[in-house]
Every structure is written in C-alpha cells, then in structure tokens.
C-alpha cells in the first residue's frame, strides 16, 4: 500500500497543478460560452477528488503484508537494456537507423544472455538491414540514412 500513498500524493499534485494551469489559460474564445479552460478545469477537480479517495483507501487498508517476500528483480539487466534504449533514441538520427539498431540489438541480446556471439551478430544484422531495405527501398518510407552514404 506504500506505493498507493505515494501515487495518491502524486496524482493529487497533478490534479492541483492542472487546476492552476487551466485557470491560467486565457478564456477569450468568442462565439462560445465555454472556453478552452472549462474541460481541463473539471478534469483537474475530478482527479484531485479521486486521489483523495485513493489516499483514504490506502491509509485505511488493513496492513496484511507482514510476510511480503522481496522479489528478486534483475535491476542490472534492466538498467543496461534501458540505457541502451536511451542511447538508441539519442544516436538514431546521428549515426543512422541501421547502425543504431544493430548496436542496440547486439548489446541487448548479449545482456539477456552471454555467448553465441555469432548468432547475435547475424540476427542483429539481418533485422537492422532487413527493416531498412524493406521499409525504405521496397515501401518508399523514410528512416535516418547510413552516415556513410549521406
């Protein structure tokens, strides 16, 4: 229930910020009695009320989590893959689709399970080249080019 308490506070904050934010929207729409601020304002109020309800539920819930076993989570694996994905997004337009995808897949495959480096290289290469050729050359779509050819 600890998560719900935090979430309740966060949602309450979002609700209040939304109310404040929508009050700051200028209300000069002409020809209409209801301007652009009405709907967000209502939403903000509803969210604030709902998060109060959530907080109430979280604090009154019976604590029966005496023996909650801590799940073992693969934080390191997750961190590497997430980091690689962030890098993928960052470098996509700089080094081009094929290279970025290839590098991301190699890192991610090897993080999931070490070894079989040849399979990893083949699958990554086939996927990154395959998607690029299929999408750009066959379907006529656009993706960031190879840095070598641009």
């Amino acid at each position: 229930m600890k998560f719900d308490k935090i979430a309740g506070v966060v949602f309450l904050a979002i609700g209040i910020l939304f109310i404040v934010g929508s009050l700051n929207i200028s209300n000069n729409a002409y020809g209409s009695t209801v301007g652009p601020k009405t709907f967000p304002l209502i939403l903000g109020i509803i969210l604030a009320i709902l998060s109060l309800r959530l907080l109430y539920e979280a604090f009154t819930a019976k604590v029966k989590e005496g023996n909650t076993e801590k799940e073992k989570l693969n934080y390191s694996k997750f961190a590497i893959i997430f980091g690689a994905a962030l890098g993928y997004a960052f470098f996509l337009e700089i080094i081009g689709y094929v290279v970025a995808t290839f590098l991301f897949l190699v890192i991610a495959f090897q993080t999931m399970e070490r070894g079989k480096i040849i399979y990893t290289l083949i699958i990554s290469a086939v996927f990154s080249f395959g998607v690029y050729l299929f999408y750009v050359n066959l379907l006529g779509g656009a993706l960031p080019k190879f840095p070598l050819f641009s």
């Binding site: 949602f11 939304f18 009405t38 709907f39 997430f82 994905a85 996509l92 991610a108 999931m112």
Partner: protein
C-alpha cells in the same frame, strides 16, 4: 439499396486482389501476435499502423483506409485465434482472453489430445466469427440510423457511458481505474485547442503543440511495459512444449463441442457489443456457463473439451461484437478497438453513424473481408498449427530486444521525432509500474482517444444551450445514457458492499 446490396458491394471490394492479400497478411501476423507472449492484440495493431500507412501511401484516401483497416482488423481477430495455442501447448496464455482456455486445454495436451484441442479452438473461433459477423450485418444499419438522430449532448453522454463501462470493469480497484481514465483525458487536452487555437499545457515546447500521439503512448504502456516486466521479473527459461499428434478432432469431440460453441458464440457476441466488457469477460462467462450446464461439472479442469470450445468461441465472438459500437456509434469499447478507431481517424474516416453513409466502401469492405479472413484463419490454423506452434519456441532473449526495436521503428516511422522515442520509453516504465500496482492502463488509452471528442461534443452542446449545463439531463436519451453510466459504476460497488465477488475484466 438494401443491406444485402451493400454487403455484395463490400465483397466486391474485399475480393480485390490486394485486399485479399491485406487480409491474409493481417490474419497471419495476428495469429503470430496471438501466439507470441509479450505482444498482445493491442500492441500488435498499434505497431502495424505505420507499416500499413506506408503500404497504402499511393492509393486514394478511401481505398487506402479500407485496405489498412482490413489488415489491422485481421490482426485483431487473428490474435484471438492464436491466443489459444500457447494456452493449450504451454499453459501460458498469450492473451488475457485465453486464460480460461488453459484450464482444460493444457490438461488435454497432457493427455495427448493437443491436436483435438487446437482444432476445436479453431473451429469454434470460426463459427463464432461468422455468428458475430451476421449479427454485425443485421444490426449495423438500424443502429446507425438511430445514432444519426444523436446531437452533441447525446454523444457526450454516450461517450461518458463508454468510459464508465470500461473503468467499472477494469482492474481490481475502481478508484484506480477512474484515476487512469481521468489521466488519459488530461493527456488528451495537451496541445493546441482545436476550437480556440490556444496552446494548453505545452509549456511553449513546439513538440507538444500537436498533442501527444496515442500510438506512442499505447505502444509504450503495453508493449514496452510488458517487455520491462519480463526483463525485470522472469528468468528467460523456455518451457517444454506439448506435442501435437493428430490435427483433426474426432467425431466424439465434435459432437461434444457443438453446443458449447453455439452457446459461446451467442453469449460472446452480446457481451462484446457492450462497451467495456471485452473478450476476457466473455470467455470467463462462457466457461462458467459450460460448467453449470454440464452433466459432470467435475470433469472441468481435467481436460473437458467443452471448456476449450465454449470460451474460445466466446472470445472470438466478442471481438466481432466489439466492432458494432465502434462502427455504428463511433465509440470503441476496448483498448484494441480504440486503436483501430485511431487508425481510421488517421485516414480522415470518422467511425460512427455517418460511416455507413459517407464511406460505405470502408464499412462494408471491412465486414466482407472479415468473412474471408475468418475462412482464411480456419484454413491456416488447421494444417499450419504446427508451424505456428514453432513460433512459441522463439527464445525470449531474442524476442524481447526485437520487440523494443519494432516499437522504436513503428513510432519513429509515424512521428519522425526522437521526442516520441523518449516518450515511448517513459511510457514503458510507467506502464510497468502502473500495472504492477493494479492501475489498469487500457482505460487511459481509451480516454486518450475519446478525450478530444468528449470535449468537442461537450462544448458544442453547451454552445447550443447557451452555457446551460442542464442540457445533458433534459434531453431524454442523454439522461438515459448518464443514468446507465452511473449505474455501471455504482452496481459493482454495491455488490462489493454486499460481500459478493465481482468479476473483473483485464483486457489488453
């Protein structure tokens, strides 16, 4: 022109060679999506939108819309066929709608009857698909005629009803479901307001002017959220797969499953038409019904074929039934139909009562193609079931990174900005955290799609009434919708207080 004439015209469109090809590609990918754990129908459909958009780029707008919706809908009902495969062979359902299939299906596989279970699931799905389509054909025109009389006030209330229905049934806590719904509506207000041209909640960031793309959010919350969950929580051990001996069911099997299939189809169809109550709920109800009417209820859970035939028919019929509110009223009842609707809007085709008048080719072409698609699925699933069963054995270590790469490709190909990629990753983390703590994400996506329409109709209604809010309760139909919406939220609460168990729907 009568319904039959329209249907014939629809078949003329569906039988164009490229549309047959689109339907085939759709159902094959759909089956694969259903078989693969980690990609549900929702992310499958979402990921294919950019591909279909490019495939249909050269065509005139209306036939492009028809072709791509034929493919995307194929993925949707194809996934319903495929979902049963993993339930039966691995005891791990590929979709939430196949959870109950695993109860008896896996037991049958243990007894060496995997082939019978799989083929009965395919036959049941086929019958159910056809039943749902007939219902769609019969109900489509009368319903859209009724809906044409709706004004903005009625629409506003009807959409609130849709949201209430989804939130009332989703997840364990209604408070959490409602919070997610409101959060989705809020995300929908970001961007430049269409009526007044004023930027809202954009903080002067140009990338936010166009609003948040629902495709990015849906793929992030569902596909990436699921990937992150698997990376964090599960080890990547691959389970043994049951063997398939014979593919055709015996006469005894067919006889025992005829009635469950009929019941499941009808039940599933009517549950599917209701907004919010999707395929998952339909399969649960069908399983309970079969157990009740069975002569020996004890045999359920030990490999009774009725426990496979009924729920599998029901979930397929429900996915067909769910097309009715989408096509005739323009209101999606589930996450996946919300995404189909988003795809249609991308082509400037607005689903709703006018769809059948303005774009009969799109509406009837889709309906006709679903007949063909279901037939293809039956043909594909019987002999090729072994091939699809092989897909299950794709090792997770390759599957998960590739899902990430496909999501990146799909989002970038539509949006062309790296901002959406960061948003995608952010939504992935949020999707994982939220669903881990029982905050359902399907209502959020639905609300995101419906949000702008709700606001527009609200403002139009209030403009008509000169700002008088009572317009929503003085129009009789609108009042009825609002009362039903309130009941939908209140009844489960009342049942809960009276100490009864409430079945929840966890559809993705």
């Amino acid at each position: 022109m009568g319904t039959l004439q329209y249907l014939m015209d629809g078949f003329a469109i569906a039988f164009q060679w490229h549309n047959i090809l689109f339907a085939l590609v759709g159902v094959v990918i759909g089956t694969a999506v259903g078989v693969l754990p980690g990609i549900g129908p929702m992310s499958g459909v979402a990921l294919l939108i950019p591909v279909t958009a490019t495939l249909t780029a050269g065509m005139p707008m209306e036939s492009a819309a028809a072709s791509s919706i034929i493919l995307l809908a194929g993925v949707y009902y194809g996934a319903m066929y495929g979902g049963s495969t993993t339930s039966i062979l691995l005891n791990t359902p590929g979709e939430s709608s196949s959870v109950v299939t695993a109860l008896d299906g896996y037991q049958m596989a243990q007894q060496g009857r995997a082939g019978s279970a799989l083929s009965i699931a395919a036959i049941g799905s086929f019958v159910a698909g056809i039943v749902a389509l007939l219902g769609l054909v019969i109900l489509a025109q009368p319903l859209s005629k009724v809906a044409l009389k709706f004004g903005p006030a009625e629409y506003f209330s009807l959409m609130l009803l849709g949201l209430a229905a989804v939130s009332g049934l989703a997840g364990k806590s209604m408070t959490k479901a409602l919070i997610m719904t409101v959060a989705g509506l809020m995300l929908g207000t970001i961007g430049i307001d269409a009526v007044s041209g004023i930027a809202r909640f954009t903080f002067n960031q140009p990338v936010l002017f166009g609003g948040l793309e629902f495709l990015t959010i849906a793929v992030g919350l569902f596909a990436l959220g699921e990937v992150m969950k698997t990376v964090l929580e599960k080890d990547t051990g691959d389970e043994p797969v049951a063997k398939i001996n014979r593919v055709l069911p015996t006469k005894q099997d067919l006889k025992e499953s005829a009635m469950p299939i009929t019941r499941g189809s009808l039940l599933g169809f009517f549950i599917g038409v209701l907004p919010g109550a999707g395929a998952t709920l339909a399969s649960f109800f069908s399983y309970i019904t079969e157990k009740k009417v069975s002569k020996n209820p004890d045999s359920f859970g030990k490999g009774n074929i009725a426990g496979v035939a009924g729920p599998e028919s029901a979930n397929n019929a429900a996915s067909g039934g769910a097309m009715i509110p989408l096509l005739t009223l323009g209101i999606p009842g589930s996450g996946t139909t919300a995404i189909l609707m988003g795809a249609l809007i991308m082509y400037n085709v607005q689903p709703g009562p006018l769809l059948f008048e303005d774009h009969p080719n799109v509406a009837w072409g889709l309906i006709a193609s679903m007949f063909i698609g279901n037939l293809m699925l039956l043909v594909l699933n019987m002999p090729l079931i072994r091939v699809f069963a092989k897909i299950i054995q794709t090792p997770k270590k390759y599957l998960l990174p590739i899902i990430v790469a496909i999501s990146f490709f799909g989002v970038y190909a539509v949006q062309y900005t790296t901002f959406d990629l960061y948003l995608l990753l952010g939504c992935g983390v949020l999707g994982y955290i939220l669903s881990k703590h029982d905050y359902p994400v399907a209502p959020l996506v639905l609300a995101l799609v419906l949000g702008p329409m709700i606001e527009n109709n609200m403002r139009r209604a209030l403009t008509i009434s000169n700002g008088d809010w009572s317009i929503f309760v003085t129009k009789p139909l609108s009042l009825v919708f609002l009362i039903v919406a309130i009941l939908w939220l209140a009844v489960p609460l009342l049942l809960k207080f009276s100490g009864r168990k409430v079945i929840v729907n966890e559809e993705d």
